[in-house]
Symmetry: C2
Subunit: 336 residues, 2 copies
């Protein structure tokens, strides 16, 4: 009976234990595991056999400490309950697995302080890189100083590698679609300071129309939970007896979705009375058949990860890489 199985409670094996069992030095075990060719075939075979038998796995923590590489990536998103970011996470879990990486996921909840906490935690955990959906630009300069490989996702930010869809183009598609459907009075659901609002106004203006302030259903920019979005829309509806627009654009699917549900509840017909278009093309727009701007999430995350990898390996020059993909508009029942 081997000494390792003598105890009822088997201790966690280390290379030292394997070495003893295989009658080699611990360094040789390390060599075998790391595929170093300068090892006697017989010895290697012995080592492999033992490893197999006892199910040994090298301690990644020790490797991280020694190699200064953790194969960990930190991911911070602004709202984990939004299906869009869930899709992002799904894609990232897949993508990182393909490359032997693991991810640590954090929700910043639209909170700048929490986001900074997240970043600090990533650093303490020795992540090799960070993928960030930033709350605002608030933490970016401090993050830059940390000099940790970082790719900003879903937004394009100065001085950072960034992968995103062109919001401007996506919003333009929405505006032109609605206008081409004969809508002249448009509305918007979303935060005031969002670039999608600016682009929407711009696109409308370029078509000889304009977006009236009264037709903006403002959402609080910090608390974008489904519940608070619903409340914000209700507040608007309660203070506006009659809606002065025939088509509305939700800056994201959650906004469009909640609006859609409220319309249903109030017996207002979509698209007959009001057309609705969302953004992100999540399960929300798919389920209620809401037109929405589609983002190629898989591609985006694949690119983001690939850039991050290159950055980690130092394979690319310092100038930030900006990738802006073209979105497409998926037209569904809510706007035709």
């Amino acid at each position: 009976m081997n000494s390792y199985s003598e105890m009822g409670e088997e201790m966690k094996m280390t290379m030292k234990d394997i070495a003893k069992l295989a009658n080699v030095s611990q360094a040789t075990v390390s060599r075998v595991i790391n595929g170093n060719p300068n090892v006697n075939k017989e010895a290697a075979k012995r080592v492999f056999k033992i490893i197999e038998e006892v199910g040994f796995k090298p301690n990644r923590t020790a490797q991280t400490l020694k190699n200064n590489a953790s194969f960990l990536t930190g991911v911070s998103v602004i709202d984990i309950s939004n299906p869009y970011f869930m899709d992002l996470i799904e894609a990232l879990e897949y993508e990182s697995r393909q490359h032997g990486y693991n991810i640590i996921i954090h929700n910043s909840n639209h909170n700048v302080l929490t986001e900074w906490d997240n970043i600090q935690n990533f650093m303490a955990r020795q992540v090799d890189g960070i993928l960030l959906v930033p709350t605002t630009s608030h933490n970016l300069s401090a993050l830059k100083k940390l000099e940790v490989p970082t790719v900003i996702i879903t937004q394009i930010k100065d001085e950072f590698d960034s992968v995103a869809v062109s919001h401007k183009q996506g919003v333009k598609l929405v505006a032109e679609h609605l206008i081409s459907q004969g809508h002249h009075k448009l509305g918007y659901i979303g935060p005031m300071h969002d670039e999608r609002l600016l682009f929407f106004k711009e696109a409308i203006f370029n078509n000889g129309l304009c977006l009236r302030d009264e037709n903006i259903i403002e959402l609080g920019s910090d608390s974008n939970s489904q519940y608070s979005i619903r409340q914000d829309i209700i507040k608007y509806l309660d203070t506006h007896e009659k809606l002065d627009f025939t088509a509305v654009f939700g800056f994201n699917d959650v906004g469009a979705f909640e609006f859609m549900k409220l319309m249903n509840e109030r017996q207002i017909k979509v698209p007959e009375d009001i057309a609705v278009v969302g953004f992100d093309d999540t399960i929300l727009s798919k389920s209620l058949s809401i037109s929405s701007v589609h983002q190629p999430i898989r591609d985006m995350m694949q690119m983001a990860f690939s850039i991050l990898q290159k950055r980690i390996k130092g394979e690319i020059e310092e100038t930030p890489i900006k990738i802006e993909l073209e979105p497409s508009l998926i037209i569904r029942n809510s706007s035709k």
Copy 2:
């Protein structure tokens, strides 16, 4: 001089650096950080100041190695694209953050091998514990041998701490609800081997009725993606000219949801022609107003995490803790 400092990249600070700057030994820095009271107030203040100034964070990897505690938890779920598991992940991210833990999330994709990979990876990463939504019971005995603190979630498994909702009770609520609505011919959407099917049959039988085999829309048990579920349902619909049931129970929301959408597409009225009930009460059932069995996810994950913590600290006896919560049925338009 290595390539990093040549490139002007500031090296990562260590306790040694802080010690030098504060004119104390590295051990003292460690004491200060860990709140050891036996440190000169002045010295401590100096150390704190430096730490603050340079933004030092102790290396968690080194701590893990030394302390044999990582404050990492491994989470493996069977289908990350299912909103139900996304809700689970959201709750776990929140819960673990509250306790200073981080989670590593893996998708096993209903694949036993992938699940075992995930577990191996968790071990290599030195997680303090594992939260597992098991694919099958296949890996459980091997997992047991690893002697790592583990809590099984969403299912109750022998020999393991488990936290779940009573599937039996949930399914019973569904059956009784449908029957009380006057439905005598019932259908089921889901895998053949799932316990929910057994419980459904049982509950129906206890009400003097039975579930006919022809009314089972079988879903492949290994590939539960939204797409394949849809395909399975389509296959059934294509081979059954007329549906011989007036109410159907989807073993999860994805099944109910896809069925619902197909009914809409084929102009079959819900609930007039067919009533639909799902399971999990996810955003899917909420969006299409499908009745569904609600699971108290936040509570479940809170309990699961709490048990895991106690297990990690060795605060509880060896006999597994089983927690089975009562589900509730949320009745919506799809069945009334």
